[in-house]
């Protein structure tokens, strides 16, 4: 058995030892000094050679198998790989998302700048009783809205004739085969929305209108100055042949308007 040669021959020797060399702690000058001392000390040279040889063996390249095929296959199964086009799309998508976020933040900042109080919470606090009362009111309103909604759904489901009231302002009337310009608008409480064209709406055949003359509009041409009897007004959609009749109220009281007897042109709107 060879003696342990890890220590220098002379412990008091200031020559750097072999271990320091292999620890990569020596400066070029120290390395030179070590090699000089090794020329004079066989034990130290043997120690150096043994260690160097051992470490060379340790650093010998190992023939490693190629793992890329198996690894890429497994990762591809679990996560999938993207083509360059796909990666570009992801990039564009991220960019678009970032731009949208930026827009939203900018918008919020703009709103805040114009209306600083918009984002501030209420500074005053009310008593609990007020909160409870307000909650009760809100709950009641919600329940009413819910019941109205249910009623409207029920109405929609029923195949009955629907009734609606339209307030009408007579703008201009003439006797006989006159032209009449009428503006009609649905009342706010009428749940069924009016379709844009009154004629189309009526032609559906399931709607009956009650026409109510409300008043002369002050900005319109008809009025007291025109010396026209108000009960001579006329309303009918352009395609009046589809409408059998409809009931109207005028100053003279409700009356039935037969479309066949009347003709009308003019604008109609909600």
């Amino acid at each position: 058995m060879r003696p342990d040669r890890s220590q220098p021959d002379n412990p008091n020797d200031s020559t750097p030892n072999v271990d320091s060399y292999f620890d990569r702690e020596l400066t070029p000058e120290s390395i030179e000094s070590l090699f000089d001392s090794m020329n004079q000390s066989r034990a130290q040279r043997d120690q150096f050679d043994d260690t160097q040889s051992m470490l060379d063996d340790l650093r010998n390249p190992v023939e490693a198998p190629d793992f890329s095929g198996q690894v890429l296959g497994e990762v591809g199964q679990r996560r999938g790989w993207l083509s360059s086009k796909g990666r570009r799309m992801v990039f564009v998508g991220r960019l678009a998302t970032a731009a949208c976020l930026l827009l939203v933040v900018s918008g919020l900042l703009l709103v805040r700048r114009n209306n600083p109080e918009a984002f501030q919470p209420a500074t005053t606090s009310g008593p609990v009783s007020e909160f409870v009362e307000a909650s009760g009111v809100e709950a009641g309103a919600s329940m009413r809205a819910l019941s109205e909604g249910l009623l409207s759904i029920e109405e929609k489901c029923q195949p009955t004739v629907k009734r609606a009231t339209i307030s009408v302002s007579v703008c201009e009337t003439r006797c006989g085969k006159s032209r009449t310009r009428v503006q009609a608008s649905a009342r706010q409480d009428f749940s069924t929305p009016l379709s844009p064209g009154l004629g189309d709406w009526l032609s559906a055949g399931n709607v009956e209108l009650t026409i109510v003359v409300s008043s002369f509009a002050s900005h319109q041409t008809a009025g007291p100055g025109h010396d026209t009897p108000i009960n001579n007004w006329l309303i009918a959609p352009e395609r009046s042949d589809r409408l059998p009749s409809f009931e109207a109220s005028s100053v003279g009281g409700p009356r039935l308007i037969n479309v066949a007897d009347w003709t009308a042109t003019g604008s109609q709107g909600r």
């Binding site: 058995m1 060879r2 342990d4 890890s6 271990d19 292999f22 620890d23 120690q47 043994d50 260690t51 051992m54 470490l55 063996d57 340790l58 650093r59 390249p61 190992v62 490693a64 198998p65 190629d66 793992f67 890329s68 198996q70 690894v71 890429l72 497994e74 990762v75 591809g76 679990r78 996560r79 999938g80 790989w81 993207l82 360059s84 796909g86 990666r87 992801v90 990039f91």
Partner: protein, 194 residues
């Protein structure tokens, strides 16, 4: 591999670029395999661990912290896998008697006949490495085989630099002694047969 290039490859691979991932694997597979092979001494185990480590790393590239080296991260994951695999391979004793017999190995440093057989069967270097403690072996491999700095090893193993140096010196001394003994023994054998 240059760090900036490596970072670009990591970014591309994380975005789903297969070619970039392949480059990363090819750049590190040799050193990682050599390290795990020397740690375990078992080629099959080393192959499984290296493959698993690469799969895990590529699956979680978004978690990579670019402040650190990619190889450090890869080696850490591989080492954990190696420890897990070692844990699974450890024999489990059913009875207390067997367990206490197995634990009664207070003087394992003395070479036995089985050790000699192992020395002949595997390489001299591998046998010497196997005789080291886990810490000594890992420090020796990281410093001398992978050329990591003492500082990097200390961070990787979460131990003071002084402790790393101590493991390095002792491990190197012990390896040298074991290899010298082995060579002396071989020399005696050849003298007898000649």
């Amino acid at each position: 591999m240059v760090r900036s290039l490596e970072r670009k490859l990591i970014e591309k691979a994380a975005a789903g670029d297969k070619a970039a991932a392949a480059k990363l694997i090819k750049a590190h597979q040799g050193s990682l395999y050599a390290y795990i092979l020397r740690m375990s001494g078992k080629p099959e185990m080393a192959e499984d661990i290296v493959q698993d480590a690469f799969v895990r790393v590529l699956m979680h590239l978004d978690r990579f912290d670019p402040r650190f080296r990619f190889s450090t991260w890869l080696f850490t994951i591989a080492k954990r896998l190696y420890l897990n695999a070692n844990q699974k391979l450890k024999p489990h004793y059913d009875s207390e008697i067997v367990s206490s017999w197995g634990a009664d190995t207070s003087a394992p440093s003395a070479p036995t006949i089985q050790d000699e057989v192992d020395v002949n069967a595997r390489g001299c270097i591998q046998s010497a490495l196997d005789a080291l403690s886990d810490e000594q072996r890992e420090v020796i491999l990281l410093f001398h085989q992978q050329n990591w700095s003492i500082n990097a090893i200390a961070k990787h193993l979460e131990m003071p630099e002084g402790t790393v140096k101590s493991h390095l010196h002792r491990g190197r001394q012990r390896m040298r002694r074991l290899i010298c003994d082995d060579q002396t023994q071989k020399q005696h054998v050849s003298e007898v047969w000649s």
